[in-house]
């Protein structure tokens, strides 16, 4: 693809801008992009994110690598045995092989990882225990300290998911929110 401005060099910078829901695309070469004041760094956050995602996957592969060495202390199955027959050996396997199963579960259930629906016997889940005043205070302090980083973590997660789902419009919004938060 040719650069839209100089029409000589190959376009290597592909810019998609969404302003008020209007989507515009431009394809520029490195030089023209710099002239236009588009610093590569700025626009790379999505790419960076993608590579961090891939790294995260590799990491989880490595971690599941350690999982593939172990067998469940309750039923004795290994991940390899599970892969062969597609059946787990006991409820504990969901904890023992949590990381390896995560991708499988996500894939089977349209990206979902958390249960929504009924509980055994129609009994609602017990509410978390009410903390004593002192404990509650400590918790509150911790909370106020970590609110900022928590939000950032949350946003990052949402952003990862948006990229995974290829919902770039949402991703761009989240990226801007993240940036604002970091400043």
């Amino acid at each position: 693809m040719q650069c839209e401005l100089c029409k000589t060099r190959t376009a290597t910078v592909h810019l998609t801008e969404i302003v008020d829901g209007q989507r515009t695309e431009s394809h520029l070469c490195q030089n023209c992009a710099q002239k236009e004041g588009i610093t590569i760094k700025n626009q790379l956050s999505l790419n960076e994110l993608l590579s961090s995602l891939i790294a995260a996957h590799q990491e989880s592969d490595e971690q599941s690598g350690t999982e593939s060495q172990i067998s469940c202390p309750v039923c004795g199955i290994t991940m390899e045995m599970f892969r062969k027959q597609a059946l787990l050996g006991c409820p504990k396997d969901y904890e023992v092989f949590e990381k390896s199963l995560r991708l499988i579960i996500e894939k089977a259930h349209d990206g979902n990882l958390t249960h929504k629906g009924k509980t055994p016997g129609g009994v609602p889940l017990t509410a978390p225990e009410i903390a004593t005043d002192e404990q509650a205070e400590v918790k509150n302090e911790n909370k106020s300290d970590s609110t900022g980083s928590l939000q950032a973590e949350e946003l990052k997660k949402l952003l990862e998911k948006a990229v995974c789902d290829e919902d770039y419009e949402l991703a761009a919004k989240l990226r801007d929110q993240l940036k604002a938060l970091e400043q």
């Binding site: 004795g76 006991c90 579960i105 089977a108 349209d110 249960h115 055994p120 016997g121």
Partner: protein, 357 residues
């Protein structure tokens, strides 16, 4: 209750009075459950399987007592031992959709508790410790869900299920994790088949995370244009939402397409349509030897003819009955003896002639 009491009559879920029953034959909701503190079936030894079987069997058989507060009673329920049952009995239960091939082919202590009216079946020691199922004629999934939810609550109060607040009900296969619900609808879609639109349906279903498979045949190749559509996602979607999507979106849409296809056939291809129906009738009324595959295919065409008003002298009930009566295990149990394939083909043709002439 003896199995030949089942084999001589029609399943209640084959009723022509139910909603949309010209196209939607029946609805089914099943739940997969496991008992906490036990391994899943594939890692259980015989003794452990027997313990689970006895406990679940007793719990479910005692359900009639708790059922008093329910809108409609469960009716008579009884246990059938699959481990010691004959191959023919197992096949009969498969043909009546009461047990899976998986349960029939399994090993060790296992069985099924069924309601005499055949609207409830609880398979024990199938892939999971417990597979509950409730059936209804036509499009009636909300009714099935209400009923099975009651039954599940009643069992859940006596048995501790393997459950995690984060992942929901824990199942042997991660594909059932969460609600463990499988909502299925049996559809008769000859119109879409004749107008060559089934592929479109399959593709749309795939996009919506639905499974479509042929009903009476093996694999996806359907014999007689009967299909079963079911959900695949069980984690992150509540039972009510799953049922609602089927009741209000998915199935009404498929029914609408089937009706459009039938209307188009009536306008554009009346001759082809009538020819197909008449040939089906001629063969079914006169054949001396007929395979189950051919019978199913022709009965499907005849069923379409009746539902489209092209055949008046035969009732839809007769056809529904014949779908069951002409299957291999039904033929043999009703005859009271084992028959080889050739003998079955002769008896099948006899049965069809007797009912249709």
């Amino acid at each position: 209750m003896r199995l030949n009491e089942l084999s001589s009559r029609l399943s209640q879920w084959f009723s022509p009075e139910a909603p949309l029953s010209d196209i939607v034959i029946s609805s089914r909701v099943r739940l997969a459950r496991n008992v906490a503190g036990h391994k899943f079936i594939s890692r259980c030894n015989e003794a452990e399987k027997r313990k689970i079987l006895e406990m679940l069997k007793e719990t479910i058989l005692s359900l009639n007592e708790s059922a008093q507060g329910w809108l409609t009673p469960l009716g008579d329920i009884f246990f059938i031992d699959i481990e010691h049952g004959s191959g023919l009995e197992r096949d009969l239960l498969i043909e009546r959709q009461l047990i899976s091939r998986n349960l029939a082919a399994g090993k060790g202590p296992r069985g099924v508790v069924i309601a005499k009216n055949e609207l409830f079946a609880a398979q024990i020691n199938e892939e999971d410790h417990l597979r509950l199922a409730v059936f209804a004629a036509g499009l009636n999934l909300d009714k099935c869900w209400g009923r099975i939810n009651d039954i599940d609550d009643a069992i859940g109060k006596k048995v501790k299920y393997a459950f995690s607040p984060r992942l929901g009900f824990l199942t042997a296969c991660p594909t059932n994790l969460g609600t463990g619900i499988r909502v299925s609808v049996m559809l008769h879609l000859p119109g879409l088949k004749m107008t060559d639109q089934l592929k479109k349906l399959f593709e749309a279903a795939k996009d919506m995370n639905l499974a479509v498979r042929g009903l009476f045949g093996e694999g996806t190749e359907a014999v007689g244009d009967f299909f079963q559509v079911s959900n695949q996602v069980t984690l992150g979607i509540s039972e009510e939402k799953t049922v609602e999507d089927f009741m209000t979106l998915i199935i009404p849409k498929i029914v609408e397409y089937e009706r459009l296809a039938r209307d188009r056939l009536l306008v554009k291809d009346t001759n082809i349509l009538d020819d197909r129906i008449s040939r089906a009738m001629a063969v079914l009324k006169n054949a001396k030897i007929i395979s189950s595959h051919e019978a199913m295919f022709l009965l499907s065409n005849l069923r379409m003819g009746i539902n489209m008003g092209r055949v008046k002298e035969i009732s839809i009930n007769t056809i529904n009955e014949l779908f069951l009566l002409t299957q291999p295990a039904h033929l043999q149990i009703n005859k009271g003896q084992n028959l080889d394939a050739e003998q079955r083909d002769i008896l099948r043709a006899e049965t069809l002639r007797a009912k249709l002439n």
